[in-house]
Amino acid sequence: MKEWISIFFAAILTGNFVLAKFLGICPFLGVSKKVNTAVGMSVAVIFVMALATAVTYPVNVLLERRDMAYLQTIVFILVIAALVQFVETVLKRFLKPLYQALGIYLPLITTNCAVLGVVLLNVQNRYGFVSSMVNSIGAGVGFLLAMVIFAGVRDRMEQSSIPKAFNGLPATLVAASIVSLSFLGFGGVIEKIFG
């Protein structure tokens, strides 16, 4: 139990996917302009991450048993792509409101490196099933946290005057750097509390 809590909080704070591991930077920079779109995207990411982990775990066990671990990358990306398509179809058919809320974000998630990243990290760290699930949900929640905080920061930034060359993306990146700096402050906290 303690291990799971520690994995969960490490994935949110010290090992934040966006700000410490640089996974899922594209949606972080692209969809973080408004808080509600940021939340929508993040919820879709949490959903797909958890589902992808649940599906790829048995697949990976199968691959390793057959000594075909080298196929991981190709199998995982296809599983994720198929899964996203499947989820989208199911949601559209049976859960219209949820589809309308998450629908437009789902296709983008296929090529979101955070999803493939979390699956690969689970395999690399040799996590068991529960640890894998905890890690991927934690990673998703960390993504949500970073997105929401950053959406707030960008909101303020819109109104400030910025040197011409820095206008747009460069200023966004510098702001991201400062937000990332604040997450750096969590270094060692998880180990001290749960370690």
């Binding site: 969809v31 190709i74 690969l120 990146l173």
Partner: protein
């Protein structure tokens, strides 16, 4: 064909500054930020990505008349993932040190926007030779930008170049540049510098940012002053014209333009591609 041959040289050189994938088109940001902590890892990443890009462009260009338009994205992803697996095995076998420093970012080349972007935005409409030149140019541009950024971060942040200490202990390195915040900061500064050199701001709608922006705040990106641009009422997205690529130079080569009205959002209507060629 003749015309294409004449244009091969610009295909090769455009990747360096004019259409540098990292600094101008802002594609493949994740590996750029994550791997630029040391020069050797950056070179390893750049070369691996260039090899994958070269072969994926060549294969996809060669198969461009065979792959049906409707399933082209899954087909591209499969081809790219296969190539990444090959490169991963080669790197593991011959340069295990690079494999260690790249970690999961090596398999993550599969979802690098540069590769899928070039596949869908360039290789599926050009000859094999032009696609190969385009891939080499883009790959070298990516490697050069990555190398430059890693050099800045490693020299200033660790006081070393490719692992060799430079200052002999006379200077305290600015360790923050090696840490994640430094990555964002140096990258931001480099894009600003590239903007300054080019004299115009980088395209706002680019690469994977564009396809994400499509999902919600395309309007906002275009007109930042519109306060309540509702993403769902965006007229741009519902028309197939939203997917039109004005020309090959367009960085909006992101294949994943979402279309909430169509069942398979992954695949923008085929008509838009046709329209593009016309």
């Amino acid at each position: 064909m003749k015309k294409e041959k004449e244009k091969l040289l610009p295909e090769l050189t455009k990747g360096f500054l004019k259409e540098n994938p990292t600094l101008r088109l802002v594609l493949g940001t994740c590996p750029t930020l994550a791997i630029s902590t040391s020069v050797s890892a950056a070179l390893g990443m750049g070369v691996s990505a260039t090899i994958v890009l070269l072969f994926s462009n060549v294969v996809i260009s060669a198969l461009r008349r065979v792959i049906p338009d409707k399933v082209r994205i899954p087909a591209y992803i499969t081809i790219i993932a296969g190539l990444v697996t090959l490169v991963q095995m080669l790197v593991k076998a011959y340069v295990p040190a690079i494999d260690k420093s790249l970690g999961i970012y090596l398999p993550l080349i599969t979802v690098n926007c540069i590769i899928l972007g070039r596949a869908d935005g360039y290789a599926n409409r050009h000859s094999v030779a032009a696609s190969a030149f385009d891939a080499i140019g883009m790959g070298c541009g990516f490697t050069a930008a990555l190398f430059l950024m890693a050099a800045v971060r490693e020299v200033l942040g660790a006081g070393a170049f490719a692992g060799i200490p430079l200052f002999g202990g006379r200077m305290t390195p600015i360790a923050i540049l090696i840490l994640p915040p430094g990555g964002f900061f140096v990258y931001g500064c480099m894009i600003a510098l590239a903007n300054k050199l080019q004299g115009r701001p980088a395209k706002k709608q680019t690469g994977c940012e564009a396809c994400n922006a499509n999902s919600g705040d395309r309007n906002q990106e275009a007109e930042p002053r519109t306060p309540n641009a509702c993403p769902n009422s965006n007229p741009d997205r519902s028309s197939p014209n939203a997917y039109l690529l004005p020309s090959d130079r367009s960085p909006n080569s992101c294949p994943l333009s979402p279309n909430p009205s169509s069942a398979s959002c992954l695949l923008p209507p085929a008509s838009s591609e046709r329209g593009c060629e016309a």
